[in-house]
Symmetry: C3
Subunit: 285 residues, 3 copies
């Protein structure tokens, strides 16, 4: 594998412009911890959110929507069947489905539910931290709840190994796999895009991962047939927004709560040109 | 129908002062997407929120409260019976009930539940966007989830027609009907107050509608026998707050997340005098 | 009882430093109204939150955690059994458990659930407003929902009486009892720490109490065997943060929504030295 400079910023910019123009309706089955932020991120990027995890109506809502987000952050006896119903309906209708396997590996219920979802629903994209993706791909277990275990961090040293695993998992699921952390990876079966934007403050707020998965869903919904690039656009946008938010937060002497606002604000004020200006992106194939 | 300048700002101001003095306890059965904002808006206007959608306790909570808000944004097997129990108890005790039919028309479950609520519970006020109110009044269906369908927008051209429909629906329900959008209408069976405050940014955050319905509940609870004027006070306040928040947000270079804070802040810092100073209000009868 | 100046600021400072170093994982069973704020407060103080109220997984999550927060703000047929399962498992494993009896006294369900929790689970700390603690200790009932009834307020006059009651209740539960309001009390069976920091704006946002209980859990989890001092550290921190947030909010012309951000920001930017510099603390024994 060789790491090369990424040059196709025009394609990423086009993905963003498609999102702005199409303003997709995104059906979110998501957790109540970060649901308000998820809704506001979708509105920030000109998408439109609709939340429902009620088995009796999710199929109708999927049928209105251009994308489906399944975030397993809160699992209950009602939300689990809703995820399967909505996911299968979306597959039947050709609506792309994105999964955020929050806490996979932390409990048997989360690992089992996400594994079974993988068997029964075809996902366009799966985004998690390295511990969550490991739990799904090789059945590992996490020791740090919904955060990545320290021993799992992606570094320059293990990057080629992690890329190979991501690629193999992408091939197996026929999905784009996103592993986020200090270094972010976006991989399909053939190639891996590596992104080095972002800021450590992003892990001092709840929900930056949930927000990113929502942004991915909006971009995927607006760019059919462009899963890898649309996903990379979302990851680059969130990373750049994280940097811009940090600068603003420092100027104003804020803490993590203000940072949360600045992060969503940065997505609201994002322009596609920023991708080429600030993106730190390479490609491995 | 003739559109005339609204002149009774003293009455609106009085409604606000009654709210400040009475500080009503408002029982909210509401969705988990915007519940935190709903609580903070109620605290912003000196009301006090209590949230419960648990069938075993809602009747006791209604009995402590001066107003009941039923927002159907999230329907589950527990929250639906809670809405009926609380609504009926409120009717029995003379506690005013306000409904926000979020997503009525988008799914059968939402249309059926709101229709059945209308049959079994007497509402003081019902507030929705034009698509939601149409779904309730004439059984239409929405194609845009929880947002109004574009083809439904209230404009200067169709204003008299929409007013007639709102008035007929108000008569049928014996309730004040509020239709919000670029132009807001507040109608009882006799007359319609038309409000032209507000800002497009309000639709770039989740929950400005939910917040308004909460504010209406607080004003209704504080002004018995004044449903039309108390509701118009709430709608004018929210519209003016939306404008003030936009000015502040521009000064600070914020996006939609900061705008959300500025909106609630503007209600917290609202003074009744602003109603006359900034209200763009007419009346049709 | 004699009120004396509190002098052991070094111990409080040590408690904060232990929290910064240990960065505990805190399992939260909490309400959906303020859950996002609770998560962000835990991240602000370098702890790590994990939310789950699902009976099938809470025992596994407790086993990963260093502290368990049980906040009864929203009770459902799923969350109530989750509280008992998680609480008993935590007791078996030696993980400290903290209770926030939101609305105890307001409904029979809340009073019964919290009373039964007290019988079946050993709590390290219980924090509520005076009406909630009274409901638990002597079976009183509240007339103001989740807020303290006015007639219950702790004042200089009734302070010794309230302290005696708190101490008796602390002895009975073998727990540290925290009563918050304009004056805050932290009591074990022997002595009571009295804290006079804070600001009235804290009651104009939803969740400042929930946030404090989360902060207490993080401090307790990081300071085994130091329940009284660790709890007092959390209460002092929240009070001082409330004052700093008010100053910042005034400078920026904010309302209650901005205040909410400044409050969490102040915890994020808190330094242990502020405890001695700003703490208004006395001790009664």
């Amino acid at each position: 594998m060789m790491e090369k400079t990424f040059q196709n910023f025009t394609a990423l910019q086009q993905c963003w412009e498609n999102l702005n123009r199409r303003q997709p309706l995104i059906h979110c089955i998501t957790n109540y911890v970060t649901v308000n932020d998820v809704a506001n991120v979708l509105l920030a990027c000109n998408a439109s959110p609709i939340m429902s995890a009620e088995p009796r109506e999710v199929e109708e809502i999927v049928a209105l929507s251009q994308g489906l987000l399944i975030n397993v952050g809160i699992l209950t006896t009602e939300t689990i069947p809703a995820m399967f119903l909505a996911g299968k309906k979306a597959n039947a209708l050709g609506v792309p489905v994105v999964m955020d396997p929050v806490g996979a590996g932390a409990t048997r219920l989360r690992t089992d539910t996400t594994t079974e979802l993988l068997e029964q629903v075809r996902f366009a994209v799966i985004r998690g931290n390295i511990s969550e993706i490991k739990a799904l791909a090789v059945g590992g277990s996490s020791t740090r709840g919904v955060d990545a275990a320290l021993e799992d961090a992606v570094t320059s040293n293990n990057l080629p190994t992690v890329c190979s695993s991501a690629r193999a998992f992408a091939r197996r699921c026929n999905a784009v796999i996103v592993i986020t952390g200090a270094i972010d990876l976006v991989s399909d079966a053939q190639q891996t895009i590596v992104l080095r934007n972002g800021h450590p403050m992003m892990s001092r707020i709840t929900g930056s991962g949930c927000q990113l998965t929502a942004l991915i869903t909006a971009l995927i919904a607006s760019n059919p047939g462009q899963a890898l690039l649309a996903t990379a656009t979302a990851v680059a946008t969130m990373g750049i927004a994280g940097e811009l938010a940090f600068t603003k937060n420092q100027q104003l002497g804020g803490g993590n709560s203000s940072y949360r606002n600045h992060l969503i604000d940065a997505i609201c004020n994002f322009t596609p040109e920023m991708l080429a200006e600030r993106g730190k992106i390479t490609i491995l194939d």
